[in-house]
Point group: C2
Chain length 223, copies 2
């Protein structure tokens, strides 16, 4: 839409119907196109330097002498927080927010869930859908309260987004569907209680479905 003359090459690896390119193939394509004198835009969702693997692609570009510039973006945690209207930090409640990956690579050590639990700050787990139950258990074992409020936000900023509010221990019970499908972020901490859809008493769970497009204009203040 913004560059009608551009050739659009979808390389998304997790979208249905998309060609699953390996990262090596993406790197190769970037180098080839740039070497041919073309301007290459590598478009990613979120912020490219937060769980975006931009560093690897940048290293390849640097190695081939291709000048680059990186445009920062809105990372999923910020998009989810803005839509649900809870802060990621709050004076006197959370002096820090941790963005951590729930996706464990072969051979890479696990994040220190026990220490993160004890920090008592806001935790946002990226790519944690498959391991939500295990991560919740590790945090509780590390000393985090089982009653801690959590929000699972699926497809933040997209029309098909879904939200589910529940307590930390409920993630262990597997009560996370359908919000807990990739792409999703799991937000853990007292700040979640300030979310616009969060039930005042988190005794049960609440699940919010796809965004109603008309709601957006209803919420706008007319000048």
């Amino acid at each position: 839409r913004y560059a009608p003359q551009a050739e659009h090459v979808p390389v998304g690896r997790h979208e249905p119907g998309k060609v699953a390119e390996t990262h090596a193939a993406i790197d190769r394509r970037i180098v080839e196109e740039a070497a041919a004198g073309r301007c290459v835009v590598r478009l990613k969702g979120g912020d490219p330097l937060v769980f975006g693997r931009t560093a690897q692609e940048l290293a390849v570009a640097r190695e081939h002498g291709i000048p680059c510039s990186i445009v920062p973006g809105v990372t999923s945690a910020c998009a989810a927080a803005a839509e649900e209207e809870f802060p990621l930090t709050a004076r006197g409640t959370a002096g820090a927010v941790v963005f951590v990956t729930g996706h464990r690579m072969h051979g890479v050590p696990e994040p220190r869930w026990d220490l993160l639990a004890r920090c008592n700050e806001t935790i946002v787990v990226y790519m944690g859908a498959a391991r939500a139950a295990e991560i919740a258990k590790r945090l509780i074992d590390g000393g985090r309260s089982p009653a801690e409020p959590t929000a699972i936000v699926h497809a933040a900023s997209r029309s098909e987004r879904r939200v589910r509010y529940q307590r930390l221990h409920e993630l262990i019970d597997g009560a996370a569907e359908p919000a807990c499908k990739p792409p999703c972020v799991i937000v853990i901490g007292p700040v979640v209680r300030l979310g616009k859809s969060c039930p005042v008493e988190l005794g049960g769970t609440v699940s919010i479905g796809p965004r109603n497009a008309s709601l957006v204009s209803e919420r706008r203040v007319d000048a």
Copy 2:
């Protein structure tokens, strides 16, 4: 520029020559203008829900029945990382990034620097200019290596930005000027080593001055 018909009310508290409004006065003004039927845009730098005090303003708006929507933004850590071209997370190096405030409010407990130190993840300290030496000491006391690379980025995304690379222990010695003036973020962790201005050997320190505007176009690939 984007709304020439709008009335522009500067309420910045830290900029020279600006009127220092209290937060209560800002809240009151928002409520008054909205009650008069006007569309109010509360413009902030960075992401409004990361150390932005948006939650308080939102609470006041909700209390007065003023419908709001929050637009997410690029938080300073992401802006600084994009400009300096280091990732905030990296596979096998940092599975998490922590955004933490260095500004201690009266009566609010200190972040658990000892636990954050031991997590061995990327740490970004917001509003840490005045306490850089003390925070570095707490992290080292908590077990973080004194040799850890750090980057202090002043005024990320602005033309007057400055960057200083050095090791964690050098922050204790106070060798942080002039990058360490507000607004700045202090980025700590091995990912910093990938920054485009980072010296390969961080034996000494390196300080990068204001951005050369012409550099931007030099770095663009011509189509």
